[in-house]
């Protein structure tokens, strides 16, 4: 049990859902500013992770090594992408792109969720329980981010401090570049991943291109996208406003 990745999985999802509930108590129930609450939560959880890492594992850098999930056997022998497609979370994340596009734009739940973000007053007047939908949104987002964290840790066979390296913010940027639409977000993420891999390749091969400048590119591109070189991006009308 102590060394079981499945127990870890369940615990990680559970903790993330608890934190999501706490977050929605602040932002949905008490209607406290969402950005400020987010800043507080980031401090709290990053601090707790460092604190517990030292307290439990007596290391300021990483946990002991643990086994990754067993691999998904079906596509294992496809050359090139076999390794990629034998990871459950990667497979799920690809499916998630289609799933979330479908849920957001083809189901009643998705319509109501979006109406809560676009025009909560109108939605409420049509009988949509806006605050419930905001709560569902936070919960789903908490669940999905827990998967991202689980993947990072399991893929490196351990948690290490600073491992996340601002990926939550990058994901935020990807969402904005992708104009809040899952298909577009997929390509935005692909762009970020491409530059991350490119930077590592450059560093190793030493083409003489400073890797720091490559490192800068995804963020610079995000800003350029926002400035409108690749088309305007518009958030839901009531994004970030407590209701």
């Amino acid at each position: 049990m102590y060394n079981s990745i499945f127990a870890g999985f369940v615990a990680a999802v559970f903790i993330n859902l608890l934190l999501s509930i706490l977050f929605s108590v602040f932002t949905v129930k008490l209607k406290i500013n969402q950005i400020v609450t987010g800043v507080g939560f980031n401090l709290l959880i990053a601090g707790l992770a460092k604190f517990l890492l030292i307290l439990i594992f007596h290391s300021s850098s990483n946990t002991p090594r643990f086994e990754n999930f067993p691999s998904f056997p079906l596509f294992k022998n496809i050359p090139g992408v076999g390794e990629l497609l034998s990871d459950y979370i990667i497979l799920f994340s690809f499916a998630l792109v289609f799933l979330s596009q479908y849920v957001l734009f083809r189901t009643t739940f998705g319509l109501r969720l979006r109406s809560a973000g676009e025009n909560p007053e109108a939605a409420e007047s049509l009988g949509v329980k806006v605050r419930n939908y905001k709560f569902y949104g936070v919960l789903i987002s908490g669940f999905l981010t827990s998967l991202a964290g689980i993947w990072l840790a399991s893929n490196q066979n351990g948690f290490s401090d600073g491992m996340v390296a601002g990926r939550g913010y990058i994901a935020l940027a990807a969402m904005i570049i992708g104009k809040w639409k899952p298909y577009n977000i997929f390509f935005a993420c692909l762009m970020f991943a491409f530059f991350e891999a490119f930077e590592i390749t450059i560093q190793i091969s030493g083409f003489g291109i400073p890797s720091q400048l490559i490192q800068m590119l995804p963020y610079l591109i995000t800003i350029l996208v926002l400035v409108g070189f690749i088309g305007k991006t518009k958030p839901p009308a009531s994004d970030g406003i407590p209701y």
């Binding site: 950005i35 401090l43 601090g47 604190f51 307290l55 913010y169 963020y219 958030p235």
Partner: protein, 347 residues
């Protein structure tokens, strides 16, 4: 107004009490005695000259940076980019004395601080212009700018300015160093506290005057409160946003004075250790009031040094948790008080 201040202070005490309670539970869960930990911490901070000096040394940049952020927050500009802005400015502050070493120190230091201010300010102007011209939220652009600035600095250090195989610049000459307290008051023996503290206090007072006693500050607050209404009464909203962002970001460069000219003598990548984010918390805790920021920065300074002083008993990272719990409890308590004052028909 007076009722407001009294309720703010009561709210602050309630939240500190709540924080103390929550953190005590955490400490108890680790099998330690919270009274011992807190006692030890306050003993080190207030009982020794070194501890008190170090606490004030850690308070100094938080006051400076907190005030810079407060200027932006008053204009409803969520500047999450202080981390990048202050690094850019501090980097410049460290370079000027290396290349202008023949001039009288007072001149060189002034040029260094002014150039630092301008460079930090420019990194504030960029998100301001994007916001004004394209309507893009400054939250996301400032976050992106943080990464861009740090990568740029890394590049400049690696290729031009760093001492080989390090990520730091050369030492500036002793002539340009800000005097330490310990040179005049032996009480502070060994601590890095320097005269930048007075600059920080002056920044807080000037920011207070700027925001609450000048026409410009009135415009900042008006724009922050209601942009549309401000436009209709003839305030040049864009100009206010632009200036607020320039000044707010520029001020953060002064932390370079504390760390580089007052302590290390060189710029080092990562010196800020998320100062730009902690300062957001400091400013929010004081409800963006510059005088309040002096106290909230001091509280964070106590936690910062206090954490180190109890590190042998409990990981100092506990203090990161304390900082977060302070913020979250003050948000909650403020909300309850707001609802209460609505019920009691205050305001």
């Amino acid at each position: 107004m007076r009722k407001k201040i009294i309720s703010d202070i009561i709210a602050l005490f309630v939240s500190l009490l709540a924080t103390f309670f929550i953190v005590s539970v955490i400490i108890l869960l680790t099998g330690k005695d919270p009274f011992f930990i807190f006692g030890k911490m306050f003993g080190e901070v207030f009982g020794t000259g070194y501890g008190f000096g170090q606490t004030l040394f850690k308070t100094t940049p938080l006051i400076i940076c907190g005030c810079g952020i407060a200027v932006c927050f008053h204009a409803s500009l969520f500047n999450i980019g202080a981390e990048g802005q202050l690094n850019a400015g501090a980097f410049v502050v460290s370079l000027i004395p290396l290349y202008m070493s023949d001039l009288p120190p007072i001149l060189t230091i002034s040029v260094a601080l002014i150039s630092g201010f301008i460079v930090s300010g420019i990194f504030g102007i960029i998100p301001a212009v994007i916001k004004i011209r394209k309507g893009v939220s400054e939250v996301i652009t400032t976050i992106m700018m943080n990464f861009v600035v740090l990568a740029l600095l890394n590049f400049f250090l690696n290729y031009y300015f760093a001492v080989p195989s390090t990520v730091r610049t050369n030492n500036v000459s002793e002539n340009f160093m800000i005097p330490k307290f310990s040179e005049y008051f032996p009480f502070f023996q060994g601590s890095s506290l320097n005269f930048t503290l007075f600059v920080a206090l002056a920044v807080a007072i000037l920011t207070y005057i700027l925001i609450y006693k000048t026409k410009f500050g009135y415009y900042i607050r008006a724009v922050g409160y209601n942009e549309t209404a401000s436009k209709y009464i003839g305030i040049k909203v864009n100009r206010i946003l632009f200036t607020a962002f320039f000044v707010g970001a520029g001020v953060t460069s002064l932390v370079g004075m504390n760390f580089i000219l007052g302590y290390k003598g060189y710029y080092e990548l990562g010196f800020s250790n998320n100062l730009g984010f902690t300062a957001i918390a400091v400013s929010l805790l004081a409800r963006n009031h510059p005088i309040g920021i002096i106290f909230s920065a001091f509280l964070f300074g106590i936690l910062d040094f206090g954490g180190l002083s109890v590190n042998e008993f409990i990981p100092k990272e506990l203090m990161l948790v304390v900082q977060a719990v302070v913020i979250l409890s003050i948000l909650t308590v403020n909300k309850f008080f707001e609802n209460l004052s609505h019920k009691l028909n205050w305001n």
